[in-house]
Amino acid sequence: MRAILLVAGAVFRESVRDRVPYSLVAFAVILMAASYLISQLTAGQDLKIIKDLGLASMSIFGLLIAVFIGIGLVAKEVERRSIFALLVKPMSRDQFLIGKYLGLVLTLIANLGAMTVAYYLVLGYTELTTHVSIKAGWPAPAVDPRLLLAIGMILAELMVVTAVALFFSTFSSPLLATLLTLGLWTAGHFNADLRNFGAVVESEVAAGIALGLYYLLPNLAPFDIKAEVVHGVPVAWSHLGLTLAYAAVYIAALLTTAVLVFRRRDFK
């Protein structure tokens, strides 16, 4: 366990010093601030726009951080050969890989945390500068703690995406791993269509393949509860619980497969 935590700590230290996540977080914060200005141009929808844009920024920039740093965790280490000196230290390859994953999750939490603080500052400013009569028409308060649920689900989704990125980076090049991860993220948001594919095609084989893919590919749509939270619609705790359990199982399966692939890999 100690080796895992040491690797995770080193990943976190290296990642927070990298300029790429900083610039992505900065860009997300600028976009959140800009959402306040954009909201001034629209009548009655200002708070919704700020909330929507803020959560979308976190989701997209979080994805970019997860993919680009996640791929760098292993694929770039192999490509640059920095992995050679590390793997001969007294730890197993399994510990190395799990440590890398935990390190990136820590980095994601830190980056999402920074974005969340900026997000609530913009929302707090909106709350303070808005007239009481307008506030009365809001479906939910500006500084709504329920937004944390949506942010938590964004984090859970990004943890799945990170596991996907780590899995691909154990056996492919950085570019290919990036493309495969982004492709799987896109497919993951339209996964429900695969389940219903059988109803629109006659071929049982095609329907079977689609159903197989439905279970194999990550199902990311349930993680998106942004619209419900922004509009003040209740989200069932059972939905949250089941989605988080799904994330845990999917991440465990991916990391196990990644470990098995990585154990036997040759580093030329």
């Binding site: 230290r13 050969r81 007294p90």
Partner: protein
């Protein structure tokens, strides 16, 4: 007990995407390195030296054969605690300093608190990086990164250290430092296994060498056994050699090479000794600049063994 043993160690790499064919990078390598030896693993580029080192570090898995270090199979975590490894052209994390990197690695070896701080400071000083310890690694020169690589390899006071081309990227001063470091390691009883194609380093440091060419072991043993240290001849450098004297020497079969306007090298056979000729030349007004015995060198052996391996040609394709 042998510190390092390999038995018929073989590694094939698949070549080609659609129909991969095996390429044999290392063929049936059987080696034994005693404890406390400085072992030079020599060979031209592409001979299989780095492949062997990676197999010993379990960065590669063998196609067949076995390898043991300190009596245990390679990859055993308990053995990893007693090893050091410097990869060829090492690369580390851009945004960490050498001090942070070594602190991280020291923690993996189980160092804590003040012990760890002292050990990191000691190895940084040992490789001459004490003043640059807070420089980010991406700001370091190639030679400095090589020194960081050496520092992490000796961090745990290893019993066996593997160095893949340790002199690579170092200036003459750096190379001298590495040579001295290797001698200090040997004095501490550490087994040093290093790959190189720089023969002068091997000749100056090694008690044993192995020569690898095209994945096959060509020669292995103590330098004194591999090299016939008997006298092969003499190399005499003289100046102010008169033209008639020069012509007379050439007519006696002495090979003369011109160095500059008044100096030349005379290649003399082992017998008879050079004393009579030195007298004769001095009497004729020439001045003796230097007289060197010529013996078999590691380079001679290396060239002979590598050449014996021939080349891998296209076989008419």
């Amino acid at each position: 007990m042998a510190a390092i043993e390999t038995e018929a160690l073989t590694k094939d790499f698949p070549i080609g995407f659609w129909r991969p064919r095996p390429y044999r990078a290392l063929e049936s390598l059987t080696l034994s390195v005693g404890e406390g030896e400085v072992f030079g693993f020599l060979g031209p580029n592409g001979a299989g030296k780095s492949t062997t080192l990676k197999l010993l570090m379990q960065l590669l898995y063998p196609t067949s054969g076995t390898a043991r270090i300190l009596g245990r199979p390679v990859g055993d975590v308990s053995v990893k605690r007693r090893l050091g490894f410097l990869p060829e052209h090492p690369y580390f994390y851009d945004y960490l300093t050498s001090e942070e990197l070594l602190t991280y690695f020291a923690s993996l070896f189980g160092y804590h608190g003040e012990d760890r701080r002292r050990r990191v400071a000691a190895v940084l000083d040992e490789v001459g990086l004490g003043a640059e310890r807070r420089l980010k690694l991406r700001q370091c020169s190639k030679g400095m990164v090589q020194r960081v690589g050496l520092a992490q390899a000796i961090l745990n006071e290893p019993e066996v250290i593997f160095l893949d081309e340790p002199m690579s990227g170092l200036d003459p001063l750096g190379r001298r430092d590495v040579r001295q470091l290797m001698l200090r390691l040997r004095a501490r009883g550490c087994t040093v296994f290093f790959s190189s194609h720089i023969l002068a380093d091997a000749e100056a440091l090694c008690s044993q060498v192995a020569i690898l060419a095209q994945g096959r072991l060509r020669a292995q043993g103590r330098l004194s056994e591999l090299l016939a240290f008997e006298l092969k001849g003499w190399e005499l450098v003289v100046s102010d050699l008169a033209a008639d004297r020069r012509a007379a020497l050439e007519s006696r079969g002495v090979r003369i090479t011109h160095i500059d306007h008044d100096r030349c090298t005379l290649e003399l056979p082992a017998t008879p000794g050079p004393e009579a000729l030195v007298h004769e030349l001095a009497g004729g007004g020439a001045r003796v600049v230097s007289l060197m015995p010529v013996r078999d060198t590691l380079e001679d052996l290396f060239v002979r063994e590598v050449a014996a391996g021939g080349r891998r040609d296209t076989e008419g394709l």
